[in-house]
Each structure stands twice: as structure tokens, then as C-alpha cells.
């Protein structure tokens, strides 16, 4: 939560083998931390809720 607003990080679909460096940095500021590739999910996140294609 930043400025009393929920924050979401959606990592670019271009990161198919590991989450981006920016994504890793953004994790601690994100209420919901997402990847667009199912195989990149782990217990500690990121989560997968689908992708744009």
C-alpha cells in the first residue's frame, strides 16, 4: 500500500524465463505481484492470473 492505495505489479510478458529486475525491486511495494508466465510462479510469488494473450 502506497499513499493508502493498493499497488499491483504486472511483470511484462517479455520476461519469460525470470521476473525482471524492476519487478524484483517492486515486489516489496506491491500488494499484488504478478507474472504473465505460469511457470515463473513460486510459493513466495509472483502470482499468475493470466496474460494479455
Amino acid at each position: 500500500v502506497l499513499f493508502r492505495k493498493k499497488t499491483v505489479w504486472i511483470d511484462s510478458i517479455a520476461n519469460a524465463e525470470e521476473i525482471s529486475k524492476s519487478g524484483k525491486l517492486a515486489k516489496r511495494f506491491s500488494d499484488i505481484w504478478l507474472t504473465q508466465w505460469k511457470h515463473l510462479t513460486t510459493e513466495d510469488g509472483p502470482e499468475y492470473l493470466g496474460s494479455i494473450i
Binding site: I13, A14, A16, S51, I53
Partner: protein, 157 residues
């Protein structure tokens, strides 16, 4: 017409050099390339550094197939438009990008209908020779489905 694109972020001299050379050897084939801030200046094809959205869309639509860096924007556009796309990844060891994520993209789209993935210029040359056999892939945008799931996850109605 063959439409070649390197995307908006970075030049990709290795691809444009290859295409220019290929165009020299295949003078009867119409090629248009979007080359970015390339150091290399092509002499055998029509090109522009950058394109407006309209120019890009119209060239994309009128092309038989696309030749591209492994950029997700172009790959998604090709799948949605059902255009075959020949893909070659930028190599960060050659200074063509910040890291090797384009190689990861290339691997992920290898074997996907409509995507002709090439590891290097040799494979690219081979792909161009087999262009008569290219088949278009197809995909639907999942934007709506994705945003609905996210809204549910966020408890937004």
C-alpha cells in the same frame, strides 16, 4: 511486401545488415524496414528509422509476413493479425540489449504456429528460403479475461 521491424527501443544492426544483404540478392522482392537509430545505413531497401502508429499498422497489414527482433509487442501484433512472423533475438553479448530476455522469448515461441524462430543469421537465411511455406498463427487477446481476474483478486466490482 516483407515488413521488417526492430521495435522502438533500440537499433538492431545485425538484422538490418542481413536484410539489406538479402535484399541485394533478391532485388525483385519488395521490403520495407523500420530500423530505429541504426548505425548501419541500408542501400538495397526502403526504410525509415521510426514509424507512426498509423504507418506501422498499414505496413503491417499490407505485408505478406513480418521479420522482427524478439519483441513481445511485435509478436503479439503478428499473432493477433494472423501474419507469419520470422523472429531473431537480440544478443546482449553483442550489445544488442540489456540482458538475454529476448532469447527466452525466442525459446518460448519456438514451435508456436505462425512463429518462425531463428537462432542466428544462418537459420534466418534458411527461413527466408522457405518463406513460401509460412503459415499464419492465430491468437486472441486475453486482456478482458485478465483484467476481470485482476479485478476479482482486488475485490473491485
Amino acid at each position: 511486401m516483407i515488413f521488417v521491424t526492430v521495435g522502438t527501443q533500440l537499433p538492431f544492426d545485425r538484422l538490418i545488415r542481413f536484410i539489406d544483404d538479402w535484399a541485394f540478392k533478391n532485388p525483385n522482392i519488395n521490403i520495407f524496414a523500420q530500423i530505429g537509430e541504426s548505425d548501419f545505413v541500408p542501400t538495397n531497401l526502403e526504410y525509415k528509422k521510426h514509424l507512426s502508429m498509423n504507418e506501422f499498422n498499414s505496413l503491417f497489414e499490407s505485408s505478406e509476413f513480418i521479420v522482427s527482433h524478439a519483441g513481445m509487442g511485435t509478436i503479439i501484433s503478428a499473432l493477433l493479425a494472423q501474419k507469419p512472423i520470422v523472429i531473431i533475438a537480440r544478443d546482449s553479448d553483442l550489445g544488442e540489449h540489456r540482458n538475454q530476455h529476448q532469447k527466452a522469448t525466442l525459446n518460448r515461441f519456438t514451435g508456436v504456429d505462425g512463429c518462425i524462430t531463428c537462432k542466428d543469421e544462418v537459420e534466418l537465411d534458411y527461413a527466408m528460403k522457405s518463406r513460401k511455406n509460412f503459415k499464419a498463427g492465430a491468437a486472441n487477446s486475453k486482456n478482458v479475461e485478465f483484467s476481470n481476474k485482476l479485478a476479482t483478486r482486488l475485490n473491485i466490482k
